[in-house]
């Protein structure tokens, strides 16, 4: 069954008819030609499809497009502004934190979303109990990035890259 939805992706508005079963990931990749979010597992397990959905990081492979009609989406490609790389993209380059093409876009979007969550005061599983303030140390970064998996173990430089952006 086709339904019309409107999605705003990286600043451009698209209106398209989608089958009910189409996920946001497939709508972007297959229908709109926006291939920056990657399809790794397609089951919410790897983080390769991470986008900012109405401001918060989310897996686009488990979100149905019809359920997110009107959504505002930012992908890794949309993080750059006026031809300038986003500080997180720049930091990934500087620290040689790039991984395979599947994992990197999701890692960068996830890192950007994660820093917003820290700014909002959100705790993680390793934050001290009570209403303690979050100190974004290595343990915090690792825990908060645990939704992005990598099978090749090339991830050692991601933490320093994120830490640099967090400090600035």
């Amino acid at each position: 069954m086709d339904t019309e939805v409107t999605l705003r992706v990286d600043g451009t508005t698209y209106t398209l008819g989608v089958d009910t079963r189409t996920t946001l990931l497939d709508a972007m990749r297959e229908r709109l030609g926006i291939t920056s979010p990657k399809k790794g597992c397609d089951h919410g397990q790897c983080g390769a499809c991470t986008i900012l959905l109405d401001g918060w990081r989310a897996n686009s492979c488990l979100a149905l497009a019809v359920a997110h009609d009107g959504a505002e989406i930012v992908t890794a490609a949309g993080l750059a502004m006026d031809g300038n790389l986003h500080p997180m993209q720049q930091a990934f380059i500087e620290h040689d934190a790039f991984q395979c093409g599947y994992c990197t876009p999701g890692q960068i979007v996830s890192a950007v979303g994660m820093l917003d969550e820290v700014d909002a005061g959100w705790p993680s599983a390793v934050t001290a109990a009570g209403d303690a303030e979050v100190v974004l140390d290595e343990a915090e970064i690792r825990e908060r990035m645990s939704g992005n998996l990598c099978r090749c173990a090339a991830y050692a430089n991601i933490v320093p890259a994120i830490a640099q952006v967090a400090r600035s």
Partner: protein, 333 residues
């Protein structure tokens, strides 16, 4: 995936009517479990009724000192709520120990409670499974048993309930407010999920079309002294092998009151009532905690492949209670 219809209702009564009239329909919230099961061919509804924007997204104080959590409150927001963090740390920690940041931003309170088992055979439609297709047999009994239940399982099914949040809610005596075709109900979380018995296909006592509206956290002063401990195969982003939700009230070195629930061990959050009975009035020392854990685990009936869960649960219970009662208890060891 089979073709399906998607519908958004004007209001809650209409949503309930729509689903009650569609025997092969399901409510959709964040979709992080349901869409996964649709892709696997495990869930085959003909209609999805979206309730994410229909139920409450608010966390409200109740006049009696309790808290009302809307069914659409996201897992990430509930975990971060300052009141939850200070008054029910066990709930905040259980949520933060579940899934990933990306998933918690989509997952809702109602959907988390009703997520289905992660038993690998339930999720693989090429294998027999009584929960998925009644009468086909249980592949787990003679198969991969590591994640399976040690309490309350039946010949038909040995699966565990995967939700961490539900274990914390069971420990603090939370209630679920529902609205169904037959009216409203208030169901203790401890009674929401069923043991498998001869009908493993039914996870909960909810009737078709019954919608979770809110979860109510009762006032429980000593829940401020509570915590969640999750033991799993990797440090983060994995389901529990065993988990413990505990809240303790210690006065003059004696346990005045306690709440204890276990996750990863049964078809439902396992409220450890035997252990609680032994602990009330007992000195808050390691020996009491060990005795209580042993009493609870005496009823365990593990399979060969998950027998390790018994000593693991014992250690996790003792460690969690020690953490909550401080050095005094450790000295009494």
């Amino acid at each position: 995936m089979r073709p399906l219809r998607y519908a958004r209702a004007q209001d809650v009564p209409q949503a309930v009517r729509m689903l009650a009239a569609a025997p092969y329909g399901a409510y959709l919230a964040g979709g992080t479990n349901l869409v996964d099961l649709l892709k696997l061919g495990v869930a085959t509804p003909e209609l999805l009724v979206d309730v994410r924007r229909l139920t409450s997204e608010r966390i409200e104080d109740l006049p009696d000192g309790g808290i009302l959590v809307g069914a659409a409150v996201r897992n990430s927001e509930l975990a971060a709520d300052p009141t939850i963090r200070t008054r029910y740390p066990v709930l905040s920690q259980a949520l933060l120990d579940g899934a990933s940041g990306q998933l918690r931003n989509l997952a809702t309170t109602g959907g988390n409670l009703l997520q289905r088992t992660r038993c690998p055979y339930f999720q693989n439609i090429t294998t027999p499974c009584n929960k998925r297709v009644p009468g086909t047999g249980c592949s787990a009994r003679e198969g991969h048993q590591r994640d399976m239940a040690i309490f309350g399982a039946s010949q038909e099914c040995v699966a565990t309930h995967p939700s961490d949040m539900a274990v914390a809610l069971a420990a603090i005596d939370a209630l679920v407010r529902t609205r169904g075709p037959d009216g409203d109900r208030l169901i203790p979380v401890t009674e929401l999920h069923r043991l498998p018995g001869e009908e493993p296909g039914r996870d909960t006592v909810l009737r078709h079309g019954e919608l979770i509206m809110n979860v109510e956290l009762p006032p429980l002063g000593f829940a401020a002294n509570s915590r969640y401990r999750k033991v799993r195969d990797r440090a983060s982003y994995a389901f529990a092998l065993v988990s413990v939700a505990a809240a303790v009230d210690v006065v003059d070195g004696v346990v005045r009151d306690v709440r204890l629930a276990l996750g990863g061990v049964a078809h439902k959050p396992w409220r450890a009532t035997r252990a609680e009975e032994l602990l009330r009035g007992a000195p808050a020392i390691a020996q009491s905690f060990a005795d209580a854990a042993d009493a609870e685990l005496a009823a365990a009936q593990p399979l060969p492949g998950n027998a390790f869960k018994v000593p693991l649960a014992r250690a996790a219970i003792i460690r969690t209670l020690l953490d909550l009662t401080g050095d005094a208890a450790e000295d009494g060891r």
